[in-house]
């Protein structure tokens, strides 16, 4: 009476009923991968990997009073002068006429030699960039101070006499 007829009663499906097709679970991933790579590219280009570092520079306070100024023994002083076109010149002691030309590779040996030959408490490097030198030179020479662990160094304005000698040396060397 109330029973619903179920496909022939025999349990097997009739000819009109289709077997449910098993759907594939695989999705087309190509658009997703495309988007993924787009994002990778974007982040690669917008990122800054190498963080800049900071070099500490401490300058002395300007003072007019002679008793506050640091005295430098001539025997322990090495003066390095920076000229144009990456030129580098130095002299030892307090006689600027003994000026010698060098470069950024050889200066390390000069500093190490001088450091070896002087008492540590007397050793001081005086850096005098002239108006033609550039920032890269200044940083390179300050860097040389930390590479060679020079404890005492000073950045000083170049005197007119020294500048003249420097320019004369540059001329003699054809720079």
């Amino acid at each position: 009476m109330a029973a619903i007829e179920e496909g022939g009663g025999g349990g097997h499906k009739g000819p009109g009923v289709k077997k449910a097709k098993k759907l594939s679970t695989r999705v087309d991933m190509t658009p997703m991968v495309d988007l993924g790579f787009l994002l990778i590219t974007f982040f690669i280009f917008s990122t800054t990997m190498a963080q800049p570092t900071a070099m500490q520079l401490i300058m002395p306070k300007d003072t007019e009073k002679p008793e506050e100024q640091t005295k430098v023994k001539a025997s322990g002083a090495l003066t390095i002068m920076l000229g144009k076109k990456d030129g580098l010149y130095y002299y030892e002691g307090d006689d600027p006429t003994k000026i010698q030309a060098t470069d950024y590779k050889k200066i390390r040996d000069v500093i190490i030699q001088k450091k070896k030959n002087t008492k540590p408490e007397d050793f001081v490097v005086v850096i005098k960039p002239n108006d033609e030198s550039n920032y890269q030179n200044v940083v390179a020479i300050l860097d040389e101070m930390s590479i060679n662990e020079v404890k005492k160094f000073a950045m000083v304005n170049i005197s007119p006499v020294e500048n003249e000698l420097l320019v004369a040396t540059e001329k003699a060397n054809g720079i």
């Binding site: 917008s46 990122t47 800049p52 570092t53 500490q56 520079l57 401490i58 300058m59 108006d131 920032y135």
Partner: protein, 205 residues
């Protein structure tokens, strides 16, 4: 394919997490390298950027500091800035114009500000020029905090400009700076290299 996607998404995740966006820069500066390994402090930094033509820019991270500096300068230098100008100043991270041109610059739309060629803050001689006043007001704004005074200059910047900038700091009694550089290793065999090797050795023990 699946493995490939896995790897690519791993890389993607890495870059998303590791990324730090390049900050807005007024000019492109190729700074020199040094052996110093100290990190640049992130907060409370006052940055002076000098490009290869010697144009000087100031940059401050903190918008509050920018606002208070703008108000200070407006008062002390009679710039005649309107509140809208000061708001614009608060939103622009870097400034490189003389005081006389500041009002004009700030009246522009932010997009225009980026595109206009700024002449740089005048630092004509060892008196420090207008930069002296910038630093003075920055110093009073940051009073009581530990500020890092950063200088970022191009390789090709001439030394006299650097000297004048340093002079502007010195006149404000600031003698400690940090120069922005790229890291490079200390050359092998030098005293610094030896010291660092010893430190590494001591750390392992």
């Amino acid at each position: 394919m699946t493995a490939f996607v896995d790897v690519s998404f791993l890389i993607l995740t890495f870059f998303i997490l590791a990324t730090k966006f390049k900050p807005d820069e007024p000019v492109e500066v190729k700074f020199p390298s040094s052996v110093s390994a100290d990190k640049i402090p992130e907060m409370d930094a006052f940055l002076i950027t000098i490009d290869k033509d010697g144009r000087v820019f100031v940059q401050m991270d903190d918008p509050n500091a920018r606002k208070s500096i703008a108000e200070n300068l407006n008062e002390t230098r009679n710039l005649g800035l309107t509140p809208a100008n000061i708001k614009s100043f608060t939103n622009s991270p870097s400034i490189g114009v003389p005081f006389a041109g500041l009002k004009n610059l700030l009246a522009m739309e932010p997009e225009q500000q980026k595109n206009v060629r700024q002449p740089g803050i005048p630092v004509p001689d060892s008196t420090g020029g207008e930069l002296y006043y910038w630093i003075r007001d920055a110093k009073s704004t940051y009073a009581g905090k530990k500020v890092s005074w950063l200088i970022k200059a191009d390789d090709a910047t001439k030394y006299p400009v650097i000297k004048n900038v340093l002079e502007a700091f010195k006149r404000n009694d600031i003698n400690k700076f940090q120069l922005v550089t790229k890291f490079r290793d200390a050359p092998i065999g030098t005293p610094l290299w030896n010291t660092r090797q010893n430190q590494i050795g001591a750390g392992k023990k």
